[in-house]
C-alpha cells in the first residue's frame, strides 16, 4: 500500500502539469439524506492558479472542499489527482498526496505554544527541535512572522490564522484550500495574506479560495466557479465580470435594495453605557475595558471589529446574561439596569438577538411557538398567572411568518428544521414584534442568504425609523456602512469613539480594528519603534 502511494506521488510533475489540471472532479455528488449538498460538480484546478469557489452560505462550498480534502466521502462522482482517479481515505491521505487545507475555524490549543500546535498537526515523525527550526524558516521565507514560543491564547486571530497557514505550508502542498480566510481579518491583514497567496501561486502551487466577497475574488483569483443550491452555475474569469454579474450568478436574481431612511430623527437616549468594565467569565475570555456610549431613539450604532475582541462579552453584559458590578453601567430607558436580569431588562423594553441562532437564540429541538415563548414570556400576553397561553405564542409565530416571510414546512416546526436565513428572520421578527425601545443585535445576517439579509436589514432600519435605538454588532463592514448612522470599533475589550458613517472609511475602520489609533501621536510612536 505504502509503496503504491509513493509510486503515485512520484509521478513527475512536469509531465502532467502545464495546462492539464492538477485536480479535477467529475460529477462529484454528496447526498445527506434527501438533501443534495453537491450535485454533479465538475471543476478543474491547474497548477499556478488561484481558483475561487463563490457561493452563498449553503451553496455547497464547504461540502465540496471537504470531499476534496477527504473529510467526507462523495456519494457519487470521481476525484482525479494529477490525472489519476483517487479515493481519499481521510485528510491524512490528502495531506500525504500534497493537498493542504486552512479551515475557517481554527483547530488550535489555546494553552499550547505555536510550535507545539504545529507539531501536533503534522503527520510525520520529525523531532520537536527540527519542527521548530523548520517553522521559523517557513514563516521567514513567506513573510508570515510568528514567535514559536508564544502561547496561542495570547495571539490575535490574524496570527492564529498564520499558524494554520504555516502548518499547511510545512507539508509543502501542491494544492492549498483556504476556507473564507479573510472573514476574520482586518482589511490590512487581508492585504498581507494576498501577498503570500500571490507568492504561492508564483511557485506553481494551486490554490482553491472559498469566499463570498466579490471584490477579493475579482482582485485575487484567476478563475471562479460559482455554486448555487449545490449545483455549479458557471466557471468564469472573475476579472472579466462585474461584481453585480457575479452576485447575480450567486443569488440567481437581483437582490432587493435596502432603502435607508435618510431622514431619521434622533430622540431621547434609550441605551446608555457608562464606563462598563467586566472581568471575563471564562478562561481566555476578553475583559471589557471602560466602555461608554450613548444611543438615542431613531439611531443605529454599528460596532465593528474582528471576532473575539469582546463583542460576545459586551452582548452578555448588555443583555443581562452577565450582571455588572454597578447598576448604572447599563441604563435602559433611563433606568439603571446593570444589576437587572435579562427578563427585567426585557420588561424595560429591551430586546436581544444573539449571534448563535441554534442553542442560544433558540432551543433547537423545540417548536417555534415554544421559542417565541422563550423570550416572550417576559413581557407579553403569553403567560398569565404562570400558565402558558399557547394560542398567543402561536400567533407570534404566524405574525413573524407573515411579516418577515419565514419559509417553513409546517405551521409550527422545530427551530432546527428551518434554514439559517429563515430561522434568523423568525428570531429577528420575534423580537421586533414586541415593539422594543432598544434592540441589541449581534451578527444579524451572519451565514444568511442575500434575500433574507436584505429583509433583516430593512427591518432594523424600519425599527429605528419607528423610534427605537438599535445596536448592531457585525464583522461585515459593508453591512454596517449600509445601515448604521455611527460606527465604533471594538478591539481588545475597548470601544473606540464612534465615527459618523460618512466618515468611517474602510481604511479608518481597518486601522481601528487592528488596534491602531487614529490620533497622530500614535503614528509618530510607530515610526520611532
Amino acid at each position: 500500500m505504502q509503496a503504491h502511494l509513493r509510486m503515485l506521488d512520484s509521478t513527475p510533475d512536469g509531465l502532467n502539469s502545464g495546462k492539464s489540471p492538477l485536480l479535477r472532479t467529475i460529477g462529484l455528488t454528496k447526498r445527506y439524506g434527501d438533501f443534495l449538498a453537491n450535485d454533479c460538480i465538475d471543476i478543474d484546478i491547474r497548477p499556478g492558479e488561484i481558483h475561487a469557489v463563490l457561493g452563498e452560505n449553503g451553496a455547497g462550498k464547504s461540502t465540496l472542499v471537504k470531499a476534496i480534502y477527504g473529510l467526507v466521502q462523495p456519494s457519487a462522482g470521481e476525484i482525479h489527482w494529477q490525472g489519476q482517479p483517487i479515493v481519499l481515505s481521510g485528510p491524512a491521505d490528502a495531506r500525504k498526496r500534497g493537498i493542504g487545507m486552512v479551515f475557517q475555524h481554527f483547530s488550535l490549543f489555546d494553552n499550547l505554544t505555536v510550535a507545539e500546535n504545529v507539531a501536533l498537526g503534522l503527520d510525520g515523525k520529525e523531532s520537536f527541535k527540527d519542527i521548530s527550526a523548520r517553522l521559523a524558516q517557513v514563516s521567514k521565507t513567506y513573510g508570515l512572522p510568528l514567535d514559536p514560543r508564544r502561547e496561542v491564547w495570547q495571539l490575535s486571530v490574524g496570527e492564529r490564522q498564520r499558524i494554520e497557514i504555516v502548518r499547511a505550508l510545512m507539508q509543502d502542498p501542491k494544492f492549498l484550500i483556504l476556507d473564507e480566510p479573510t472573514a476574520v481579518l482586518t482589511p490590512q491583514e487581508a492585504d498581507q495574506l494576498f501577498i503570500v497567496l500571490e507568492r504561492l501561486k508564483a511557485e506553481g502551487r494551486a490554490i482553491l479560495y472559498i469566499s463570498h466577497k466579490l471584490d477579493e475574488v475579482k482582485r485575487l483569483c484567476d478563475t471562479a466557479t460559482i455554486l448555487r443550491g449545490g449545483r455549479k452555475v458557471e466557471t468564469c474569469n472573475p476579472r472579466r465580470e462585474t461584481a453585480a454579474s457575479l452576485a447575480r450568478m450567486m443569488v440567481g436574481g437581483e437582490i432587493r435594495e435596502v432603502n435607508a431612511a435618510s431622514s431619521r430623527k434622533t430622540t431621547v437616549p434609550r441605551l446608555v453605557v457608562n464606563d462598563l468594565s467586566l472581568e471575563p467569565g471564562e478562561a481566555h475570555g476578553v475583559r471589557l475595558d471602560h466602555i461608554s456610549f450613548e444611543l438615542r431613539g431613531g439611531e443605529i450604532l454599528g460596532i465593528a471589529g474582528v471576532a473575539g475582541n469582546g463583542q460576545d462579552e459586551l452582548f452578555a453584559a448588555l443583555s443581562g446574561e452577565r450582571l455588572s458590578k454597578h447598576p448604572d453601567t447599563v441604563v435602559i430607558e433611563g433606568i439603571a439596569a446593570g444589576r437587572l436580569s435579562i427578563t427585567q431588562r426585557r420588561r424595560l423594553g429591551a430586546a436581544f438577538v444573539p449571534e448563535e441562532r441554534l442553542g442560544h437564540g433558540t432551543a433547537p429541538r423545540m417548536k417555534l411557538s415554544e421559542n417565541a415563548l422563550l423570550t416572550g414570556h417576559a413581557a407579553s400576553g403569553m403567560v398569565r398567572r404562570g400558565f402558558i397561553n399557547s394560542a398567543a405564542a402561536l400567533k407570534t409565530v404566524d405574525l413573524a411568518t407573515e411579516t418577515f416571510d419565514v419559509r417553513k414546512a409546517k405551521r409550527d416546526p422545530e427551530a432546527a428544521s428551518l434554514s439559517g436565513g429563515n430561522l434568523q428572520k423568525f428570531i429577528v421578527g420575534r423580537e421586533i414584534l414586541r415593539n422594543p425601545a432598544v434592540l441589541v443585535v449581534s451578527q444579524p445576517t451572519w451565514g444568511v442568504d442575500a434575500g433574507a439579509a436584505a429583509v433583516i436589514r430593512q427591518a432594523l432600519l424600519d425599527l429605528a425609523a419607528a423610534g427605537a435605538a438599535v445596536l448592531v454588532t457585525s464583522q461585515d463592514l459593508d453591512e454596517l456602512a449600509e445601515i448604521a448612522d455611527r460606527i465604533a470599533v471594538m478591539f481588545h475589550g475597548r470601544l473606540s469613539a464612534p465615527l459618523a458613517a460618512s466618515e468611517a472609511t474602510r481604511e479608518k475602520l481597518g486601522l481601528l480594528m487592528g488596534g491602531s489609533s487614529l490620533e497622530p501621536q500614535e503614528a509618530v510612536h510607530a515610526v520611532g519603534a
Binding site: H4, G33, P74, P85, H360, G386, I388, E414
Partner: protein
C-alpha cells in the same frame, strides 16, 4: 451494502411513541432466550410473567399497589431528568421519607392522638424527602459535585440509618426481637379503598400527582422552564431562566414525592417500619421514568407495566421456580433497550449501497 444511522431533520413523533414498545418487544425476545437457557419453557414463563397476574382480582389490585410508589417516584425523577439533573438517589429519599413519617407514628403509638396523625406523617415525609434530596442538589450548585455520585451514596446512608432505628431505639418491645416497629395505629395507617382488599388511598394520590405533573409540564411557564433548561441550557439562560435554581427545585420536588411514596408504602401495605421496605422502587423508578419517555401519562403506563413484572416475577417463582432475580435482569435489559431505541427518535437506519467503486490508478 451498509447499514448507517442517519440524522433526521426533525424528531419523529411516531417513533417517540413507538420506541418504548419496540424496547419492550426486544426485551421479551431476549427473555425468551434467557428462559430457554435456564431450561424453562419460555411460553409458560411469559404467561406466568405477563398474563397470569392480569387474570385475577387480587393480582390486579397488587399491581396497582406496586405501581403506586413507582409512579410517584418516577414523576419526580422525570422532572429532574428533563432539566438534566441526575437524581439517582430516589431510593434514599424514599427511605428517609418513610423514617420521618414513621417517627410520628411511633411517637403517637398507643395515645389517643386524632385524625391529624396521618396527614402530619405525609407532610413530614415529603419535607424530609425534599431536604434529603437537597443535599446533593446544593452540593452540585455550590461546589460542582456530581449529583449522580452524591445522591447515590446517600441511598446507603439512609438504608443504614433505617436499619439502626428499627434494630435500636424504635424496635417493638413485644416483637420477639425482630427488627421492626410495632404495627401502626389505625389513625397512622393509609385507609384502604376496598374493604378487605389491597388497594389503598395512595393510588389515588399517585393519580393526582400524574395529573399535576401533566399540567405543570404542558401548561405552565415553570414546566417550560424545566424543559428548556434541559434541552438547551444556553438558550434557557438567554430566556432568563436560572439553571441552578431549577436543579434545587426539581430535586426538592422529586425528593418530596419519593418521601411521600415511602411513608405511603410503610403506613399502607406494610403497616410498620422494617428493613427491606423497598424492593428497589427508587431504582426501578428510573426505568419507569425513561420507559414512560419522561411524560406523566407515559410514566403511569410504564409504572403499571413494571409493577406487572414484580408480580409476574413472584408468580413465576412460585409456579416455575424461576429465581426472583430474573425480574431485575428483565428490568435492567429493558432500560438498555429503552435508551438504545431512543436514538431512533433523532436518527433513522438507512441501507446504503456503495457508489460506483473508483479503483486506484494501477498505473
Amino acid at each position: 451494502m451498509q447499514l448507517v444511522l442517519e440524522k433526521r431533520a426533525e424528531r419523529s413523533g411516531t417513533i417517540a411513541l413507538v420506541s418504548p414498545l419496540i424496547a419492550v418487544g426486544l426485551t421479551i425476545a431476549t427473555m425468551v432466550i434467557l428462559f430457554a437457557i435456564l431450561g424453562k419453557n419460555p411460553l409458560l414463563a411469559l404467561h406466568a410473567y405477563f398474563i397470569a397476574p392480569l387474570t385475577d382480582g387480587y393480582s390486579l389490585q397488587e399491581i396497582a399497589v406496586k405501581a403506586t410508589p413507582l409512579v410517584m417516584i418516577a414523576i419526580g425523577l422525570s422532572l429532574c431528568y428533563l432539566a438534566k439533573a441526575w437524581n439517582i438517589g430516589a431510593e434514599g429519599q424514599f427511605l428517609i421519607g418513610a423514617v420521618a413519617g414513621s417517627w410520628i407514628a411511633v411517637r403517637t403509638q398507643g395515645t389517643d392522638a386524632g385524625a391529624w396523625v396521618l396527614p402530619a406523617m405525609l407532610i413530614l415525609a415529603a419535607a424530609a424527602g425534599a431536604l434529603y434530596a437537597l443535599i446533593p442538589a446544593i452540593c452540585k450548585v455550590r461546589f460542582g459535585a456530581s449529583e449522580i455520585l452524591t445522591s447515590l451514596m446517600l441511598v446507603y446512608v439512609a438504608d443504614l440509618f433505617l436499619d439502626y432505628l428499627v434494630r435500636g431505639p424504635w424496635r417493638d418491645p413485644h416483637g420477639f426481637n425482630f427488627p421492626t416497629t410495632a404495627e401502626f395505629d389505625p389513625v397512622a395507617t393509609v385507609p384502604l379503598l376496598i374493604e378487605g382488599g389491597r388497594l389503598h388511598l395512595g393510588s389515588i394520590i399517585a393519580l393526582l400527582v400524574v395529573a399535576a405533573a401533566a399540567i405543570l409540564l404542558g401548561r405552565t411557564i415553570k414546566g417550560f422552564e424545566i424543559r428548556v433548561v434541559g434541552a438547551a441550557p444556553r438558550a434557557a439562560r438567554f430566556g432568563g431562566f436560572k439553571a441552578d435554581r431549577l436543579v434545587i427545585l426539581t430535586f426538592a420536588i422529586s425528593g418530596a414525592l419519593a418521601g411521600l411514596a415511602g411513608i405511603i408504602e410503610v403506613a399502607g401495605p406494610i403497616g410498620h417500619l422494617q428493613p427491606g421496605i423497598s424492593p428497589g422502587y427508587g431504582f426501578t423508578a428510573i426505568i419507569v421514568a425513561f420507559l414512560g419517555r419522561l411524560n406523566p401519562l407515559g410514566i403511569l403506563v410504564a409504572g403499571l407495566f413494571l409493577a406487572l413484572t414484580f408480580i409476574g416475577g413472584e408468580q413465576a417463582q412460585i409456579a416455575m421456580k424461576i429465581p426472583l432475580d430474573v425480574t431485575k435482569v428483565f428490568q435492567g435489559i429493558l432500560l438498555f433497550y429503552v435508551l438504545a431505541c431512543d436514538s431512533l427518535i433523532l436518527y433513522r437506519f438507512k441501507l446504503v449501497f456503495p457508489n460506483r467503486q473508483v479503483t486506484r490508478g494501477a498505473g
